[in-house]
Symmetry: C2
Amino acid sequence: MPKRTLKRFFEPRSVAVIGASATAGRPGRVVIENMRANGYDGDIYPVNPRGGRLLGLKVVKAIDELPRGIDLAIVILPAQATPQAVRDCAARKIGSIVLVAGGFAEVDHAGEHLQAELARAADETGVRVLGPNTAGHISTPANFTSSFFPLGEIPRGGISYVAQTGNFTGAMMKHIMSAENYGVARCIGLGNTIDIDETDVFEFLATDKHTKAIFFYLESLRRPQRFIEIAKRVTSEKPVILLKGGATPEGAKAAQSHTASMASDDRILDGALNQAGVVRIDEFSHLFLAAKGVAPMPVPAGNRVGFVSPSGAFIVHINDLCRQRLSLNFPDLKSETMERLKEISPPFIRLSNPVDIFPSATVHGMEFAYREAMEAVLKDPNVDAIVSIMILTRELGMPALDFIPKLAKKYRRKPIYISFSGDQACNEEAKAFLEPRGVPTFPLIEDAFKALDVLVRARKSLKK
Amino acid sequence: MPKRTLKRFFEPRSVAVIGASATAGRPGRVVIENMRANGYDGDIYPVNPRGGRLLGLKVVKAIDELPRGIDLAIVILPAQATPQAVRDCAARKIGSIVLVAGGFAEVDHAGEHLQAELARAADETGVRVLGPNTAGHISTPANFTSSFFPLGEIPRGGISYVAQTGNFTGAMMKHIMSAENYGVARCIGLGNTIDIDETDVFEFLATDKHTKAIFFYLESLRRPQRFIEIAKRVTSEKPVILLKGGATPEGAKAAQSHTASMASDDRILDGALNQAGVVRIDEFSHLFLAAKGVAPMPVPAGNRVGFVSPSGAFIVHINDLCRQRLSLNFPDLKSETMERLKEISPPFIRLSNPVDIFPSATVHGMEFAYREAMEAVLKDPNVDAIVSIMILTRELGMPALDFIPKLAKKYRRKPIYISFSGDQACNEEAKAFLEPRGVPTFPLIEDAFKALDVLVRARKSLKK
C-alpha cells in the first residue's frame, strides 16, 4: 500500500496540539502563537488534561475526546509518552503527526529502544510521522507552522529548505527573517526520520507549485537511489541545491554523533548527484546566499556575466576567483554595446567587459554612469546576467537607485546582483531599498559571484 | 648612493599641498581637511597662484616661495605640470613627494611619455616619489594622511596595508571605518610606482614598531628577489599576508590593463613566497577578515581550535570545511576539561571538542553554559584558540556578554572569535559590544575559521 502523501502536513485544515501549554515561552504555547502570527485559519485543538481555555481556544482534555479525522497532530510530550500518543492519534483517525520531543536514538540506548517502539507504533497504525526530535516545519502557502521557536510572521516566498537539523525552522529562520528580504515556502527539520525522510519531502516539493528552488542540508541519504531518481526529474524543473554534511572523514564522524548518520562513500554519491543535476555547495552560508540570489531573480540562461566595477583591482581579483573556483566568465560585448560604453566614457577611455565604470562615474556622476552602462550591458545578447559593485558614501552623495529595479523589470530574464564597497550605513540603506524591490545585494563582493555561480550550475539541467 | 628612507613620508614635520583649492570637495581642499580631521600638527603650506587664505592657512603663490626643506610635498596638479613641479620641489630641498594626478602610463602613449619624463625628473633630482596615480597614503602614528578621499578621523591600530590600488586609502578605508572596529597604522596606494614600490614600503614597515601585521594587495612584484629577502626576515616578526591579483591568466590579463603589471610565473613566485613565510590568501574580503582577527588578538600558538557550537550541524559542517580547505583541527581535550564540561551538562550528555553547547544552554541558560564551557576549553593546554557561535534572539533574551572580554583578558595568549546565528539586530548589538572590547565577531560562521586559518598559517614562520 503506498503511503499517504505529505499534503496534510503542508496544507492541514485542522490541527491538534497535544501537550498544549498555558505557560509563556513553553513550546506547547509558542507553537499556537506561531500559527496565529502566520494567520493560520484552520481549526486548532489544544490538548491538555487540565482542560480550560488557551489563547481563546477550548482545551480538549485527552486525545480520545478530539473530533475524528483531524488532519495533523503536533505532539509535544516527553519521549516516553509518544508511542502511546501515536496510537491514540491513529485511533482518532489522525493520519499525520509531527513529533517534537527529543530524547531518542540521538541520546542513548534507552532512547534507541524508545525510538524503535515509536517506529513500531507508526508502522502498525500507518500514520505518517515527521520526527521525532524535529524542530517542526513551516508551510507559508497554508499560513502554517509547527515550529515552537518564537518566530512571528514568516515571510512568504519560493524557497524551500529541507534540513537534517532543526535550525531552519528555528534560529536560522530568524536569521533569514531579520537579515534578508526573501521568503520561504516549505521548511522542514527532518529530525530522526523514523518515517518521513528527505526523499519523501523531495517528492512532495517536486510538484509543489509554491516551491521555486529546493535547498537541502543533509548528513545522510536514507534512500540514495530513489533520491537520485527524483532529482533527475526535478532538476529539469527547478534548482536543487545541496550541502552535504559529513563529506570528509572528520565531518562524517561528527555527523554520526549529530544525527547518527552513517558515512557513505561520498565520492560515489557525488558523481551520481552531479549527474542528476543536483548542485552541491560547500558552505553553510551559501544556503542563504544562493537563496537570496534565486528568490527574486530568474536563473541565468548561461554563465556569461557582465560586470560593472568601480575598481580595476576588483576586476583583476574577480577574474582570478572565477577562473580558480567558479564557472562564470566575462564575454566580449557586441560592437553596439562597446559603442554605447564609449559614448558615456571620457575621451580616450576604452571600456570592455568587465566595465571599469570609475572614469565615467567621475565625469558623469554615479547614477548616469551605472544606469547607462548597466542598460547597455543588459541589452547585449552575449550577456546572461550582470553584477555591479557600487561605492556608496555620504560624502560622494547617495545616487538615486530606482533605476536598478526598473532595469530588473525591463530585462526580466537576466539577473541583476549588486555588491558594495564604501560606507556601511549607505550599503544598508541601498539594501533596504533594493531588496524589497526584488534586487538582491551582497555585502562581500565575492559573494555576488558565488551566488550567481550556484545558479549557473543549476541552469545546466533546467529545461527552460 | 642609497636612497633616502620613507621616514619623511610617514612622519612629516611639514607638508606643502601643491595645487591647494578653496573649492569644497576638490582634492586640493579635502586633503587638508583630512589632515586636520586626523589632528596633524605639523606645518601645512597650501600652494596656489591665487594666494589668499585657505582653511585659516596662508596660501603660498608658488613652489619657489615655499620655505626650504619642507619634509613632504603633495602635488595635486594636472599630469602635464608634474615633471616641472618635481624639479621645483627639489630646488626647494623638498625630498619626498606624493604625486596624486592620474593620466600617465595607465591611460595612453602620451601618458607613457609623460611618465618617462616624470621618472627622469625624479631620478635626476634624487627626490623620492610615491605615485603618480596614487590615492595617497595614511600614517596614523603621525596623525597624517595625503588621501584626498573624504575620510574624517581614521581609527588608529596596528594593521598596515600596501596596495596596488587606491582603494585602501579611499572607499575601502571608508568601509573599514564604518563596518569594522579595528584601526590602521600605515596605508599606501602605490600608484604607477615610478620610484617607491612595494619593496621599499615593505622595508619601512619591517622595522616599523606601529605595524603589527602587513597586508598586501599586489598585481606584480617589481623586485621579487629583494621582496622575498625582506620577507624572510619580517615574517619571523609579524604576519605578512598577500593577495596577489593576476594569479590566473584571466586575472593577469586584467591586471595588465589595470596597472600595466606584467604576468610573472605565478607558481614559481608562489613557492618562493611560501618559503619566505608570506601567507597568500585568495579573496579580497579576507584582507579585512584576517585583519579584524589579528588586530585585537594574539596570533594563535598553533592550529588546535576549541569550538563551542550551538548546533550539531555546524560542527559537522565546520569539520568538513577545516578538512577540505583550512589547516585547523579540533584536538581532544584533557580529562580535567572533559570533567568540567560534564559538570555543566545535563546528565547523560557527554561533551567533547567541538563542544555542542545546546543541551547545557537549554538547562543552565546561555550565559552560564558559554562562560563555563569557554573557560574550561581556554584553560586546556591542548587548545590554541577558541571559536564560539552564539544564537542570539530577543525572544530567548540577550545574555550578558561581558564575560567574553574578561576571558580574553585572562587568557590573553589565546584568540577568541565569536560568530552568530539568529536575529541580525542582536548580532549587531553583540558586535557593537564585543569589538570595541577587543573581541572580533564574524557574521558568517565560516569566516571566523577562515580568519583564524590565515593567522595559523602566519604562525609557522613567527619566532615568538
